[in-house]
């Protein structure tokens, strides 16, 4: 079932398009990775999908019972947050805010949900710790737990591993994969093409050439080949991984 359908979308600032003619669909359970060079419009696209800025033209259609405010968002960290005096529990709980409407306080269910999500992210013991005193990886987990409070369907992750060391990066990717396997649809913006290819089911490549399709199709496409060569000329993706990925995908019977 398709959660998001993007039709002829053009995104940009002040009616000046950065990206045009985008067409893609995101189905329930997909793991879509959006890759592309710096300045290709990845963040602009993300902001448009989140309604933080209006599209220049085209449509964003929701399906599968997804409402516009049921998208969990993992933003890149802002300067304000770096010295913000807030406990982990307060931040995670604030993920429930979007649903509250005009109701002023959090209910017991909200608090329970926040607690469960903290435990899911392995930060249950940090509830009373101060956010700014945590490590980068722990902070990302806090923000991920908050995003899970806002959604049980679709997560949008903006460079979730930026600034993390390799070990924490691997743990973060693992965590995201587990969430995806538990049924949450994931859209991730990433510079990290290797990670995109090992975790994602679908790739949206934006830049001079726009490509959308499954991972296997991407590896054989022109956009993919050019991009892979430009990023890692001698370190091409091993044949073995590729076939493994192909067979896994057909085994799961995914449609594009």
């Amino acid at each position: 079932m398709s959660l998001l359908t993007i039709k002829d979308l053009a995104v940009g600032y002040d009616a000046r398009p950065v990206l045009t003619n985008l067409n893609f669909t995101v189905n329930e359970g997909d793991y879509l990775c959006i890759v592309g060079e710096n300045g290709s419009g990845k963040s602009t696209l993300m902001k448009t999908l989140l309604h933080l800025q209006p599209p220049i033209s085209g449509q964003i259609l929701y399906g599968g019972g997804l409402k516009a405010n049921e998208i969990g968002y993992l933003p890149q960290q802002t300067l304000v947050q770096r010295d913000f005096p807030a406990s982990v529990a307060e931040i995670v709980l604030s993920g429930c805010q979007g649903r509250k409407g005009m109701y002023p306080f959090y209910t017991r269910e909200d608090k329970l949900l926040a607690k469960q999500n903290m435990e899911k992210m392995g930060i249950g013991s940090f509830a009373d710790r101060c956010y700014r005193e945590l490590s980068g990886g722990q902070q990302q987990r806090v923000l991920l737990a908050r995003a899970l409070c806002a959604t049980s369907k679709l997560l949008l992750l903006d460079e979730p591993v930026a600034g993390l060391d390799p070990k924490v990066t691997a743990e973060m990717y693992q965590q995201i994969r587990e969430l995806n396997e538990s049924g949450i649809t994931v859209i991730m913006i990433s510079h990290d093409i290797a990670a995109a290819l090992s975790y994602a089911t679908h790739i949206l490549h934006i830049g001079d050439e726009v490509f959308f399709g499954t991972k296997a199709e991407y590896l054989h496409s022109r956009a993919g080949k050019i991009f892979l060569e430009s990023i890692a000329p001698e370190d091409a993706v091993p044949e073995k991984n590729q076939t493994e990925a192909d067979s896994k995908m057909s085994a799961e019977g995914r449609k594009e």
Partner: protein, 276 residues
Amino acid sequence: MLSKLAMYFQYPFVRYALIVGILIALCSSLLGVTLVLKRFSFIGDGLSHVAFGAMAIASVLNLTNKMVIILPVTILCAVLLLKTGQNAKIHGDAAVAMISVGALAFGYLLMNLFSTSSNLSGDVCSTLFGATSILTLTAREVWICAVLSVVVLVIFILFYNKIFAVTFDEDFARATGTDADRYNLMIAVVIAVIIVLAMNLVGSLLISALVIFPALSAMRLFRSFKKVTISSALISVICAAAGILIAILAGTPVGSTIVAADAAAFGICWLISIVK
């Protein structure tokens, strides 16, 4: 000393001053945390100058109830400043600087040209530094202050969770369905009200201190938003009460004594945070 205080408290204007002072201190500290964290500290400063300009207009027009002009003008400027702050074309800080010095100069000019008072510099000085105004409050002004303070307090409690969400991460709040613009607007309006209120207490030049100091002090000591908010309210109330009492006993100007108490509290909190 106690007997001297007891004697002073027999005068209603002293009791009014203390009540109003504490209420205003409580309100002004609440949004301080949000202002500091949103990097809006300067907006408080700019608005207080606007309030001064509006006050000058009100004096020139010889209005008995100056709030009629001061409150709407300040709220309007708060909304304008917030809008330009989001607009990249004129940067927020430049817009604030422009409006604030403009209002200050315009206000003084007006008072100079049209003043009916014989003691112009005294008038200006007391508007800027709140020299004696808090001790000359009428019962009606105390009521206005009390009502507005309670309104601010209730709004803050009802919207506490939304203010937190919008302060911590505006984009996330917006993306998940919180109307961030509406709450930014609400924050701006409440700030304007607080500034107009606080003008009676400390004068328009010292208002920012009342908004910023307690929040910064509390942020030295505590690490959760709730604790910071509650303790900044407590610090602010204690400093205001202490400042007013000292001012009465020592005969110092009320506004600057309160601000001095706030600054001292910040120093103490800073020392504690270093020792810890």
